[in-house]
């Protein structure tokens, strides 16, 4: 692994955690969602952001009350979703389309998180999937214009080289 890839990913992970922990002031209404989830869109620019995103999820969940549960399922959710996204997006051309695919994939795979909650709290599966998925979809869709705006100022694709 290149040194720059390593440090940029480390910083992305740190940003993920910092934004997750520092912006609860931006909790919009009752739906509690993670603004940092929009960083998942970075995968569209370069597949090597994979490690940073996963590490960010990992560290954030290290601080979560459900601890190792969230750690295992949260990381599994990110790894699987990113994997699926990486299989689909090379076929697409437009950046926006790629991001929409990312949003949809991450939303659908929240069944993993829903399953975790079912295991721990024995909640009804479909209802949990719906609420968790809705939160994820909203953040990811809002994330599209934001990350695109970011992409205009920074050369996200080549920063890792």
């Amino acid at each position: 692994m290149k040194m720059k890839t390593l440090t940029v990913n480390a910083i992305i992970a740190a940003l993920y955690v910092a934004v997750s922990l520092a912006i609860p002031a931006l909790a919009f209404g009752n739906l509690q969602f993670r603004i940092a989830e929009m960083f998942n869109h970075l995968i569209v620019f370069n597949k090597r952001y994979f490690f940073g995103i996963v590490a960010g999820v990992f560290i954030t969940n290290l601080f979560s009350p459900l601890g190792i549960y969230d750690l295992t399922f949260g990381v599994a959710h990110s790894v699987i979703s990113l994997g699926v996204v990486l299989l689909i997006i090379p076929r697409l051309k437009s950046e926006t389309h790629k991001m929409i695919v990312t949003a949809v994939v991450f939303t659908l795979t929240t069944f993993i998180i829903a399953y975790e909650l079912v295991l721990v709290y024995a909640l009804p599966f479909y209802l949990t999937w719906l609420t968790v998925g809705a939160g994820e979809l909203i953040v990811m869709l809002i994330g599209i214009p934001i990350i695109k705006a970011l992409g205009k100022r920074l050369n996200l694709a080549t920063l890792l080289n």
Partner: protein, 265 residues
Amino acid sequence: MLEKMIFGRYIPGDSIVHRIDARAKLVFVFLFIAIVFLANNWITYGLLIAFTLTIVAVSGIRFYFIVSGLKPVLFLLVFTFLLHTFFTKEGTVLLDLGFTEIYTGGVIQGIFIAIRFFVLVVMTTILTLTTTPISITDALELLLNPLKKIKLPVHELALMMSISLRFIPTLMDETDKIMKAQMARGSDMTTGPFKERMKAVVPLLIPLFVSAFKRAEDLATAMEVRGYKGGEGRTRYRQLDWNLRDTVAILLLVVFAVGLFLLRS
């Protein structure tokens, strides 16, 4: 900013729980999570509580901190309890509310789930309260070492994690600073229509990313000019060592699991 870091809050101490090897603690908590599901009657759930409270007592951490770990999930706990109380139709009718009836089975089920949840949260809270994030990372690296065989860059990932942990407080301060700087320029992230608030995120994220990437670049250059090379032959600053007490801790848990298995109905 610092008070928000209340999660991941390591509390220094010298109890036996603090001194147990981070690897042992990780394995312990992983096994414990599986073991919790063995309990299915009053005796086994009672034992789970007793076991957890014993560990709390031994760890020497004030109960206040444990309770503060439960606060963010209290709502979910109550919600689940009520859900089970109202929707499990087993046993005899305990209370007739007219529109619905509460059964004894439902209340018992609710209590059991609540206990399971309580012990899980307390146990993982103890792990993070008695182990620094950096030693959890180290422990994971060592536990995942066998995966190097399938070409997983375990060492690099662990290094990435350590760098990340070091930069979290820095970047949180930075986020705070940029938020305040933009607010001073009239940006409003807490009131106004939803769309406006979302727009206000952009002037926050861009400077944050620019400065963060600059740090990453400086760090990469610094490491390269010093000829950093990980992996083979590299010694460690923080050493983990596995002692007898670590083996004993794991064995105690196994004995406990066997006990639960025998007592479950």
